[in-house]
Symmetry: C2
Subunit: 353 residues, 2 copies
DNA sequence: TTGTAAGCGTTATCAA
DNA sequence: TTGATAACGCTTACAA
């Protein structure tokens, strides 16, 4: 509880007494209910009084207490945003678009960096529940089912990114990795490539598995006789370099390689160049994600774009729908990935059969 | 106000009634005051009752309502974090360390991306005040004085990043750009460079001006007779490329260039390589910031590190101090930048006098 | 069209 | 060592 000093001598710095709705009401000569109604547009108020109230709000520099509001109304304007690692170049744009979409709608974003740590995520989910968040955007790459249950129990609207399925209070953004991979393989085969290798991500990421499967499926379709080599990586730059060296050491060099993400692709490129291979003359490379640095690479990297701005925007759209209409089931939004052709791909040097 | 359906038939999904402190108190056979005290450790409670209360909390799956807490106590555990553009590679690590530091201390971070937009920042500051945030970390590169006043009026603890000065409720993290630049110039001159150019950032960024001045001062110290060329950039990749082309078009090529940030440095490198200059054999390059991609560049970029992890950590330390001891004046923390020597610098080809 | 007043779920002051 | 209970600042039936 707070105390206001009464009868104290005027201090050096005027202790700007917090102005409450009551003060505004008094200043405008109306009741607090009326003030509340003009603020929330929750009931008709005559133009004249509304004007008066608005003026009073301005004059008093009244900023409503969000906590009191939330307590009384049972809702808050806070959204929880969980990401695995904001320093991973995939996330900043996603976060940016989500923040923007929330801002527009008057929501504030609590940023949560799980660091791929389930315990941390759990702690945080608890805090979000305590904050009575309006919704949660789960943009992490993996997820503890216990968390989901917790959220579901408390009826917190949630939107996932390629996790779980849509249902009550839960929407899902389904990014279609396969179509992008398919486009990449198609692009490469129509360029004339017959030997295409793949550098995959780690199996504990569903996205890595999906991309590898999609790659294999596409190759099977376009090059039924090919037996493409798969190299393992961990989605990080250095593992791209390592994979590149394995590729260089192989009996037969592929003419193109599809890499499961851009970070690794950049590593692959660097190592190939170190080995005096010219990209794309000697070997073509396709990445995945289309992080900002893909376009800045040398040569600019052909890659499959995972449209993060759109993902974020649509995720919040879906979330807001569930927030506003909790009775309606969550929705599922499918977002395609697509190939961005730049300069790291070209026809192979010699078309071997 | 909420309504609980009374006497309704058991619905399909059990509508988990929100459990309040009162319920816990009843379950533990104590008063709400006691429960509150064990939660907040705000008064001594006998071991036995504490145990009982803790159990009750667990059993009821009680999550205290943060808004009710904030309303009653007048404080919140929310911190506002303003950044200019989270997609700018400088920020993610800063955000990450700030989020981590806040998490440890039980605070939640509201992320605000100003997009260099003063209006947006102002709107947000208003929201933060409404949320009665415990403090604000202003990590933007520029700042509207009106915002600061607003915050100061409301007695909101603030920590800046190279803006304003420490004072009541305001701490300041002062990153010493000059020592890093000095180290860079020293490094270059001791390598034998005599012709060093600078690619500067835009004048409306104080950081750009400071770096340029520091560069000029250092060159004046080490090479009193040199008249270093200054090229203008805007801190973005493409402006680095443009600057590189201007440099290439100049009458005399410098043997080294100090670039005001890594993004531009990367652009400079790319263009130099396109012009068949070998780095560092033909020309040395030093960047600034030490973003992740600096180390991954080819060759790895020598650069001045602005230790973002530390900046974030110290910023929150300072902020927490003001939050806990509002009566004490804010503090000023000086953080040095330092040179990270990698492979983009080497002795010049021929030492011209 | 506006006002009255009962909550919302805590904290914190007193008293016991 | 614990318990009653009055705030905290707002929203929202309900009354006028």
């Amino acid at each position: 509880m707070k105390k206001t000093v009464k009868g104290a001598p005027p201090p050096t710095v005027v202790p700007l007494a917090p102005v409450r709705i009551k003060d505004v009401a008094r200043a405008a000569g109306v009741s607090t209910a009326t003030v509340s109604h003009v603020i929330n547009k929750t009931k008709y108020v005559s133009d004249e009084t509304r004007e008066r109230v608005l003026q009073a709000i301005d004059q008093c520099r009244y900023y409503p207490n969000a906590h009191a509001r939330s307590l009384a109304s049972g809702r808050s304007h806070i959204v929880g945003l969980l990401v695995s690692d904001i320093a991973n170049p995939f996330f900043p744009e996603l976060v940016k678009s989500i923040e923007a979409a929330c801002f527009e709608r008057g929501y504030n974003v609590i940023l949560i960096n799980t660091n791929y740590d389930a315990k941390r995520a759990a702690d945080y989910v608890r805090r979000l529940i305590e904050l009575k968040v309006a919704g949660v955007a789960l943009m992490t790459s993996e997820l503890d089912p216990a968390l989901i249950d917790e959220l579901a129990d408390r009826r917190v609207p949630v939107v996932f990114h390629n996790l779980g399925t849509a249902g009550a209070y839960m929407s899902n953004i389904l990014v279609d990795y396969a179509v992008g991979i398919e486009a990449a393989v198609h692009h490469l085969t129509s360029l004339g490539h017959r030997q295409i290798a793949h550098v995959a991500g780690p199996d504990h990421f569903r996205s890595a598995v999906i991309r590898r499967e999609a790659f294999l499926a596409s190759v099977a379709r376009y090059l039924p006789n090919a037996r493409p080599a798969i190299y393992d990586g961990d989605f990080k730059f250095d593992s791209g370099r390592r994979a590149a060296n394995e590729i260089l050491a192989a009996a037969e060099l592929p003419t193109a390689v599809v890499v499961a993400n851009d970070m690794m692709a950049l590593g692959v490129m660097q190592e190939f160049r170190a080995a005096r291979l010219s990209i794309p003359r000697d070997i073509s490379i396709v990445g995945f994600d289309d992080i900002a640095f893909a376009a800045l690479a040398d040569p600019p990297l052909t890659t499959v774009c995972s449209p993060r701005m759109e993902i974020g925007r649509r995720a919040i759209e879906a979330l807001m729908q569930t927030i506003e209409r909790p009775e309606q089931p969550g929705i599922e939004i499918r977002i395609p990935t697509y190939l961005v052709t730049r300069n790291s791909t070209a026809p192979p040097r010699k078309n071997k059969k």
